[in-house]
Amino acid sequence: MGVLETVTFGLFALTTVGASLGVVLARDVWHSALLLGVALLSVAVHYVMAQAPFVAAMQVLVYVGGVLILITFAVMLTRGNDADSDADGQGVRQ
């Protein structure tokens, strides 16, 4: 039990951290948004493991169902005329 838990935790911890890193490192905002979803979902798994299923449910509903959709929406709205957003970090300052 303990080992399995630990392994699961480790696995999802890696997912969480990896996805989070992906969020901040991805060049494309789209990818970031998607990876954010992954990260948030894996966090929800941690909640379940920490015996907080309700919180986990809310995490899925609020974050994935609300926040992520909003962000996606915003990406769509702003992407067209945001030439710089793809070349984040290396963009040329006006």
Binding site: G2, E5, T6, F9, A13, T16, V17, S20, L21, V23, V24, V29, S32, A33, L36, A39, L40, V43, H46, Y47, M49, A50, Q51, A52, F54, V55, M58, Q59, V62, Y63, G66, V67, L70, I71, F73, A74, V75, L77, T78, N81, D82, A83, D84, S85, D88, G89, G91, R93, Q94
Partner: protein, 100 residues
């Protein structure tokens, strides 16, 4: 056995990644997403400690944080949209009309 410490490390890592994102990315949306990561890091702590102490206030607070994070995103997106409209983009380093 997964202890509080593990969660603490995890949350710290997520928090740090969020901070890293804020510091390195210029896209307003990514800024927002990084903040979400940081808030989630807080939530991981809260839930984990809630388990540790066996009281629910941590979980309850985590729920509030979620709700407020959502509200924050909503407001933030609104601002980002007007930013986009006024400055033709969502690069946070562009609006510097008030430097000095």
């Amino acid at each position: 056995m997964v202890g509080v410490t593990h969660y603490l490390v995890l949350s710290a890592a997520v928090f740090a990644i969020g901070v890293f994102g804020i510091l390195t990315r210029r896209n307003a949306l990514l800024f927002l997403m990084s903040v979400e990561l940081m808030l989630n890091a807080a939530n991981i702590n809260l839930v984990a400690f809630s388990l540790h102490y066996g009281n629910l206030s941590g979980q309850v607070f985590a729920l509030f944080v979620m709700a407020l994070a959502a509200a924050e995103v909503a407001i933030g997106l609104g601002i980002i949209l007007v930013l986009d409209r006024n400055f033709g983009g969502i690069d946070v380093t562009v609006p510097t009309t008030m430097r000095r």
